[in-house]
Amino acid sequence: MKDLLQAARKGDKRALARLVTLLEDDPSLAPALLEGEGEWPFPGLVLGVTGPPGVGKSTFVSALVGKSRRKDPAGKVAVLAVDPTSPYTGGALLGDRVRMMEHSGDEGVFIRSFANRGLLGGLAPGIRAVLRLLGATGWDLVLLETVGVGQSEVDAASVADLTAVLLAPGQGDGIQMLKAGLLEAADLFVVHKADLPGAERVASEIEAALDLSEPGPRGRPPVLLVSSARGRGLEEFLEALDRRRAELKGPIEERRRRAAREDARRLVLDRASARLARALEGEEGLLEDLLEGRAGLDEAVLRILRNALDRGGKEEGERT
């Protein structure tokens, strides 16, 4: 795994892609992989891009990649695009890349599609670990495109440094966006497809909604009109992004610290629950006693937990 990391750092995208797969399948590999890489490597900036389906998130992300690469050719840009897994079959059709193929010859761009594998909140398993991998391999800007649900995307805001919320004309009235924290999650608003009629009205609806709400600790988000199809407004978006990044330096650092704590907490819980699941498999007899009334529930639970911890400790010892 360390060899792959070395290769990925030298720009080998296949090595990087392999590591992403490993972390996606088992995020608990991250500590071993990133051991000795500084505490919690983060990419330069992680921008979450969220909004309802059909608002043009992938097109916007692709246009932003192009603009950002032209503006700063030394800055490497990675895209993580999440699409839903079918709850019926477990399969997924990942189509975000269709809108991003023009960048495939660009050495400084890495694009990866993720299936959310049933995870709610707009992200996919392993995304947190993958962000740290991208930090350890020197990516300057990461665009994190969430599942287009639009009303439950708050998780994305907890792993991104800044979040852009996209809306577009003809996507329902302004009340929709007041729901479920979308307004609070936004550090920047984008009225996308601004070449279509009605864009100005969407922008003024957002401004009106912002007028009504108390400005949070992150301040009032700017509202930008962008047409990716016409290439308009992207320059202004990047300028606004730079301004927000400077304004929110403190909150971004605080959010990263919180994200690191959350990573650590999840790693402990994940390992503990895997260990307990293994321990339970070996306690069929005890569970049987319990069901037959030969043992008390409280006593049985305590005994299983104790056994799991003792045995788990030994297993961990054997592994290292």
């Binding site: 399948d25 079918s86 399969g91």
Partner: protein
């Protein structure tokens, strides 16, 4: 949990992607993670996408008659990038004689029009489990 990832692409000027989309849907419904890359791509774009997506298999749909050239190009590019372990398969209007030639070249399966969905799914599952997850 490990899922097989299959990337589908259409190279060249042929823009008829009904077949490719149909295959994308049946593979999704069979539990695969399918990455669809759209129409009119170059072999270079498709191979690069397959590497970045860490695809287990790469499927090309061709109706233009250019299959002998394009499959060769894709296989060569994979070889160049040290990625011949990615399973390559294809579909579309490909004459039987060319199917044999493609298989000799290294294309593992070719599904011509009329192949039942179940056959495509079963064959890919068999080939992928033979190859194994890395």
């Amino acid at each position: 949990m490990t899922k097989y990832r299959i990337l589908l692409g259409k190279a060249g000027l042929d823009g008829h992607d009904r077949g490719a989309r149909y295959v994308a849907h049946i593979l999704r419904d069979a539990g695969f993670e399918v990455i669809y890359t759209g129409i009119r791509r170059t072999p270079e774009q498709i191979v690069e996408a397959a590497l970045q997506e860490d695809a287990d298999a790469l499927g090309l749909s061709l109706l233009s008659g250019a299959h002998m050239v394009i499959f060769k190009k894709v296989l060569d590019l994979l070889e160049e990038r040290g990625a011949r372990d990615i399973l390559v398969f294809g579909g579309g209007t490909i004459p039987p004689a060319d199917v044999d030639a493609l298989k000799k070249m290294g294309v593992k399966a070719v599904f011509t029009p009329g192949t039942p969905a179940a056959v495509i799914v079963a064959e890919l599952k068999r080939l992928l489990s033979e190859k194994g997850k890395r």
